[in-house]
């Protein structure tokens, strides 16, 4: 019999705000000393009251619009109660009754073609703190820096059916949320986390199988492996009766490549949701709604088409549009140099080369596209050689505020228009290496390379290579 896997995802994304969702503590917890970004509210002391961070609602709406959701114009917050040391008030403020966005649709593309994945809802909520288990053997250490950092949870319908689709879906979410600039979405940093709900059923059946939930998956590779493992486990159980499937929460051990049923408390899941009396409903009026709508970026597909119409290949256009950071760098450079192919080449090959060398992702790109455009102009105007332009690019990565023109001048990287100087250098080099000159004259074409190199070195690269080559050959031939 053939089986199909039915997968729904709950994706938590940390929003890139400055402050926390209900208090004014810094929301940047990564790499900070423990409990430095904490106040009485986010360590569970009595007396402080939650006041909603407007940008969290902006970002929640924006995410909803990017994923084609309907926005709830009156959105409310609710309390979810449970005891755990990372939850200092023993309740999490989340959205249960009226989440900010509902009924969305995300289109993904896999080897099987295009497919729509329905989004059930997106809700805003506060993150929990962090537990550290390895400082002392008998003690768990609690850090509330991450407590109340704003999250959105994106809940999909069970529309996914393979690891490949899940990967495409997660990549699509990343691209769209990064386009909207609402989140970093870096699984390795924990700014994107994923719960996978999976069941297996005979193909064509409309009844769902027994569901397993895998929580807090933190890499796409691990998710893919877990899905493949779970699918096989479920089919094995159904076909061979190897075990009785239960609806349960499972932990994925990526090192062992296995999943385990988690021990759950008797009271687990009894969250006693109720509306938070301290947070008034957030009413999104037309003005607010429109201002968020107007701030939406172009979608990747729109950019791609635009790039193709500028004369770029489909491949290049896709590469540029895949990441908002790269797309914007390209567009800014293009605005300055007005040469789409040059700008695309620089971004795709040279900028990428530097990023790779530094071990940075596209999202970490801080290079100013405007500066890159100016640099490209220097090359196009034959003011700086390509080789020296690459040196300037390296310098731009070190210091984003650099002005390429000034930098070129100050560091003696401007091409020489002084043919007298070039003639003088050529004469000196020819005189210093009669053997190479003789070899070249004797038909060894390669011998010119040594002479060329010496000239280039003396001229510090500030000469157009083609011009130098022509002048050098002319000079030798005149001998």
């Amino acid at each position: 019999m053939n089986y199909e896997t039915v997968i729904g995802l709950e994706v938590h994304v940390e929003l890139a705000t400055n402050s926390k969702i209900f208090c004014s503590c810094s929301a940047h917890s990564f790499g900070t000393d423990p409990n430095e970004h904490v106040c009485p509210a986010c360590c569970g002391m009595p007396g402080m009251l939650p006041v909603v961070n407007k940008r969290v609602v902006d970002f929640g709406m924006k995410a909803g619009m990017m994923l084609n959701c309907d926005i709830n114009r009156v959105t409310t917050f609710d309390k979810k109660s449970y005891y755990y040391p990372d939850l200092p008030a023993a309740y999490q403020t989340t959205q249960w009754f009226a989440p900010v966005a509902v009924n969305g649709l995300v289109e993904i593309e896999t080897s099987k073609g295009k497919k729509g994945v329905r989004i059930k809802q997106i809700h805003m909520e506060e993150d929990a703190g962090k537990l550290v288990h390895d400082i002392r053997e008998d003690t768990t250490h609690v850090d509330f820096n991450r407590t109340s950092v704003p999250l959105i949870e994106i809940v999909s319908q069970p529309d996914l059916s393979s690891a490949e689709e899940v990967e495409a879906y997660l990549e699509r979410l990343k691209t769209l949320l990064r386009y909207a600039k609402v989140a970093e979405c870096e699984m390795a940093h924990g700014t994107m986390r994923c719960d996978v709900n999976l069941s297996v059923r005979p193909e064509g059946s409309d009844k769902l199988g027994v569901r397993a939930e895998m929580k807090n998956m933190n890499s796409i590779e691990a998710i893919k492996r877990a899905i493949e493992y779970e699918t096989a486990r479920h089919i094995d159980a159904i076909e061979n009766g190897t075990e009785v499937l239960r609806q349960e929460t499972r932990r994925w051990d990526d090192i062992k490549g296995k999943s385990y049923a988690m021990r759950t408390k008797e009271t687990a899941g009894d969250y006693r949701y109720f509306p938070d009396p301290n947070v008034m409903p957030v009413v999104i009026d037309d003005e607010w709604f429109d201002s968020v709508k107007d701030s939406l970026p172009e979608f990747p597909e729109v950019k791609r088409e635009k790039y193709i119409s500028l004369g770029l290949s489909e491949y290049d256009a896709t590469r540029l549009a895949d990441s908002i950071a790269i797309a914007e760098c390209f567009e800014d450079a293009f605005k300055v140099c007005n040469n789409a192919k040059e700008a695309a080449n620089w971004v795709i090959s040279d900028v990428t080369r530097v990023l790779n060398a530094k071990g940075m992702t596209y999202e970490q790109l801080t290079l100013s596209g405007k500066a890159l455009g100016e640099l490209i102009n220097l090359v196009l105007d034959s003011k700086v050689s390509r080789a020296n332009a690459k040196k300037i690019l390296d310098a731009l990565f070190e210091d984003e505020s650099l002005d390429p023109v000034k930098y070129a001048e100050e560091n003696d990287l401007v091409m020489s228009n002084d043919t007298g100087l070039v003639d003088k250098v050529i004469a000196e080099v020819i005189a210093s290496d009669p053997k190479a000159v003789a070899d070249f004259k004797g038909g060894k074409e390669k011998a010119i390379m040594a002479l060329f190199g010496k000239c280039m070195k003396q001229l510090k690269g500030n000469v157009d290579p083609q011009t130098l080559r022509t002048m050098l050959i002319e000079a030798i031939n005149k001998l």
Binding site: M45, P46, G47, L49, P85, P88, A90, T140, R272, F274
Partner: protein
């Protein structure tokens, strides 16, 4: 009567009850769980009073999380004078050791105290006094309230504490807060709700009758009418209050601050033993009850039903305020609570709040004066204070 007495050189002295957080001065909310707890900041209302020249002269006793009848559930015992239960703040005022008391009205205990001690109290419109810096219990209805021995003293302090506060997300706009002090105070018609007069003893009945007399003498029309569903406020409020309380006190677990049990061998035991030792029996019962109203099975039937009933009550009140300037009702069933009353029914607070719950659940302003209570339209404090003045013993 105090949990802590303080010296102050200020001319106007304020006593804050043990639900009002005071920076550097312990606030226990009547609970062993918070014994000795010092807040890092003070309540906004107290800060405003201090900025206006009031001096804090002490913290007064309350029952555990201000949920009880008259302080009987305080972890270190009730305040009893001659077999009668007394409220800390009211005693401090009666002893003339403070000019005004700042209280958190969760379940009506300060209104009951004012009624039985011949004091004036006002529970302002919900959202007009910041709740920043109060121990949260039943946030959808609890209100920072004032008590004093004269209408003037209450009015003076009210003018200081009323106002918008950005630190409280349920705080009303500055304009609406301002209106509390500016709205017309003329009172022409007062309603008496017949079905709110049940189970009252002769003294309370006499207070009501004398209040009606006083009003009529001052040319105010008084009409007795049926109270409709307003009498259901108690049942609905008990549900909402206990559920919210259960959620709010779940933060007390022996980890961040507060009481931690000596004996435990794992996390669950730490939680369970700390909470079991830190909370009193009365509170535990209310926690269990509140928790159950929110269970999946009960949510729609019980909790959601109470939320809908709240709207019905508010709508009925507002309909009344189309015709009347205020509604007169008792604040208590009897003129004093004895220790014996509590021994007979330790959960008396959940019945006695029959009289206080209508204003609690609806967020409407209420005054107590001359041993009776008047509930008014939102932001109509001036009208209530007009009546309070007529009924106050001082005015006679």
């Amino acid at each position: 009567m105090y949990t802590l007495k303080l010296e102050t050189a200020a001319k106007a002295r304020v006593v804050a009850d043990d639900m009002i957080l005071t920076k550097g001065v312990a606030t226990a909310a009547g609970s062993k769980m918070l014994q000795g707890f010092e807040s890092l900041f003070s309540s906004e209302a107290l800060t405003r009073l201090e900025n206006a020249g009031y001096g804090l002269c002490g913290k007064s006793r309350v029952g555990e999380f201000a949920l009880d009848l008259m302080g009987e559930t305080a972890f270190d015992g009730a305040l009893v004078v001659d077999g009668v239960l007394k409220n800390g703040a009211a005693e401090v005022l009666s002893a003339k050791e403070a000019d005004v008391a700042l209280c958190l009205d969760v379940n009506g205990s300060c209104r009951r105290a004012a009624a039985q001690s011949g004091l004036i109290s006002i529970k302002p419109t919900y959202g007009t006094v910041s709740r920043y810096g109060t121990v949260p219990v039943a946030c959808s209805g609890e209100t920072v309230s004032l008590m004093a021995d004269s209408v003037e003293a209450v009015k003076k302090a009210l003018a200081v504490v009323v106002g918008h506060d950005d630190k409280d997300g349920t705080s009303q706009s500055e304009a609406l807060c301002d209106s509390v002090l500016k709205n017309d105070g003329t009172v022409k018609r007062v309603a008496v709700l017949k079905n709110m007069l049940v189970s009252i003893d002769a003294d309370v009945k006499a207070n009501i009758e004398s209040a009606i007399e006083d009003l009529k003498k001052n040319g105010i029309e008084v009409e007795e009418i049926e109270g409709g569903n307003i009498a259901a406020a108690k049942v609905a409020w008990n549900i909402l209050m206990c559920a919210e309380m259960c959620n709010n006190v779940s933060r007390y677990d022996g980890v961040k601050y507060g009481h931690r049990a000596q004996e435990f061998s794992n996390l669950d035991e730490l939680y369970m033993n700390s909470r079991t030792e830190g909370f009193g029996s009365f509170l535990k019962t209310a926690i269990i009850f509140g928790s159950e109203t929110l269970s999946t099975d009960n949510y729609m039937k019980v909790y959601d039903k109470a939320l809908r009933t709240r709207r019905i009550i508010v709508d009925e009140f507002n309909k009344l305020f189309g015709e009347f300037d205020a509604v007169l009702m008792p604040a208590v069933s009897k003129s004093a609570y004895t220790v014996k009353d509590i021994e007979n029914d330790k959960f008396m607070a959940f019945n006695e709040n029959f009289y206080t719950a209508p204003a609690s659940i609806s967020g409407l302003p209420a005054v107590v004066s001359g041993g009776v209570q008047l509930v008014g339209k939102a932001f109509s404090e001036n009208k209530l204070l007009t009546v309070a003045k007529l009924l106050a013993k001082e005015g006679k």
